[in-house]
Amino acid sequence: MLLDYCHRLDDEDWDAWPGFFTEDGRYKILTRENFDADLPLGIMYCDGVGMMKDRMLALQTANIFEPHTHCHLLSRPALSGAGSQIEARTNFMVTRTMQNGAMEIFATGKYLDQIDLSSSTPKFRERIVVIESRRIDILLVAPL
């Protein structure tokens, strides 16, 4: 699931993204600075699958940006907890490649996940994406 999530995003299968979360799942991108200071407002925040679907529709039909692609690299996850509710921490790196070929590291950080295993497919109850840098280059439109 952790890998599949990244592959779907890399492949721009946007409509698949909300499906990785429970109906009331939360997704949040926070800078490390804000996360450490316990500040609630991040760079992207979806509270429930509805807001996630709106994000994906906006990305595909409303928002305007220069075409680019992302590629995720994942570390091995550290899992903890037992039973149907587990936690995972995984480091990631995402490169961004622009249409002219310019490629750079766009974001790096950690995923802090609460995963629900009670149904047939595991789902995120919460995915907090803590990015190392407080500074976003140009803009962020696709979830990480």
């Binding site: 609630p40 979806c46 305007i64 500074r135």
Partner: protein
């Protein structure tokens, strides 16, 4: 080479002349010329303007310090033992190293790590390491006086939760600088006990003035940002207007959501439109409450040269943009709540944080649009932008925001301060 070139400390860019059409034309050269950039550092950032230094809450307690910059110059803000604010250039009086290398912190004195010169929180030099040498040998001359050395002071004033600084003795105090026309609205939004909800920054690959234009551009807002229009957050067919400050340097653009009277122009204009159904799947994104009784639900207020305060629904944020060279700018987003917000109100503000910022549903386009202008105008320094929407003057527009009046107001101020007649 003209004579003034040698007589002035700054290159006056002698071959520059403003187009005779006036404020409705802006030469693209202004966005890419390093000589003009250097002149701006002197005339604007070290000139008679108030620069944003930090939020007051960044330096809430005695001993707090916060670094930043005014134009290219690194600065530090401190609050001393007596609660007094100070600001100075972050440059050691010895050999010029940064005195504060941490972005923020709390200290009883500031010690330069290079040779351990130590300054009080007021910037005054207190002590010098090995002043009397070692074992009676070396050391400073006997007439060396710590009282004659300090960090270069910057005039500082706190107003509406923000700390401002200026290098110029001529800058009138903040209220007068902003003027009676726009000051009350800044107080409406900011003169409250504020708390920080979150902050991040965004690097945009364009000259700082393109962002100064962008935040004043009420013409683009509802054309480029289709999320605005689709969900009727901000449209030009709502009651709203543009208010320029007395000097025209600063502006307010506002709209009242409840007054929407849908006009055909939106469907007629070749506006790409978002393909949402009539509603959001997560409509709580737009949950809002009436914080004020004036009906204004969307506003952006600028303060020349590099500050904008946004208040969209209940999302209050300070945007500060800082040049990082002639074609790069860092844009800081500081999202604020009010101390006595209920948890529900905080949730509302946090959810609305999605609307703006680097990933803002309505504003993320601004991360790239000015870069497109920067790239589009490369090599065309002698061509001009054409801005006659709403006329050619810079004047308030009480009934319509289909105008470029506030941008012309910015250029009015810019010409005045840069001496570009």
């Amino acid at each position: 080479m003209s004579e003034s070139r040698t007589s002035s400390p700054v290159n006056p860019a002698p071959d520059f002349a403003w187009p005779r059409e006036g404020l409705s034309r802006v030469p693209f050269r202004l966005f890419s010329d390093p000589e003009i950039y250097a002149r701006e550092q002197e005339k604007i950032f070290r000139g008679p303007v108030w620069n944003f230094l930090c939020l007051e809450l960044d330096v809430a307690n005695p001993g707090d310090f916060k670094t930043g910059n005014i134009g290219d110059t690194p600065i530090v803000v401190t609050r001393d033992e007596n609660g007094e604010l100070h600001a100075f250039v972050n440059r050691c009086a010895h050999k010029g190293a940064l005195v504060c290398m941490k972005e923020r912190g709390n200290a009883s004195a500031l010690t330069c790590i290079y040779h351990a010169w130590t300054y009080g929180l007021d910037g005054q030099l207190q002590s010098v390491a090995f002043r009397n040498g070692i074992k009676g040998k070396g050391g400073m001359p006997v007439d060396f006086d710590t009282g004659k050395h300090r960090l270069e002071a910057i005039r500082v004033e706190a107003c509406c939760g923000m700390v401002f600084g200026t290098f110029s003795e001529e800058t009138p105090d903040v209220e007068e600088f902003l003027g009676d026309a726009v000051m009350p609205f800044l107080k409406r939004n900011m003169n409250r006990p504020l708390k920080l909800l979150g902050t991040h920054s965004q690097v945009i690959h364009n000259n700082w003035k393109l962002y100064a234009e962008n935040v004043r551009d009420s013409y683009h807002a509802t054309l480029l940002h289709t999320f605005y229009t689709t969900f009727k957050i901000n449209r030009l067919d709502m009651d709203g207007g543009i208010l320029l400050s007395d000097k025209k340097w600063h502006h307010i653009s506002y709209a009242k959501r409840a007054t929407l009277n849908e006009s055909a122009e939106y469907s007629d204009a070749k506006v790409h439109s978002a393909q949402f159904g009539s509603d959001l799947e997560g409509p709580e994104l737009l949950d809002a409450w009436d914080e004020f009784d004036d009906g204004i639900t969307h506003s952006i207020q600028t303060m020349f040269p590099t500050i904008a305060i946004q208040y969209t629904l209940n999302s209050l944020a300070v945007r500060y943009f800082s040049p990082r060279g002639v074609n790069e700018t860092e844009l800081f987003w500081m999202y604020l709540g009010v101390e006595d917000d209920t948890p529900e109100q905080t949730d509302i503000r946090v959810r609305q944080g999605n609307l703006t910022g680097a990933a803002g549903l309505v504003s993320l386009e601004d991360g790239c649009i000015s870069e497109f202008v920067q790239r589009g105008t490369t090599g065309s320094g002698h061509h001009n932008a054409f801005m006659e929407m709403g006329g050619t003057e810079a004047a308030s527009s009480k009934n319509s925001r289909a105008t470029e009046a506030s941008i012309r107001g910015f250029w009015h101020g810019y010409r005045e301060i840069m001496g570009f007649d």
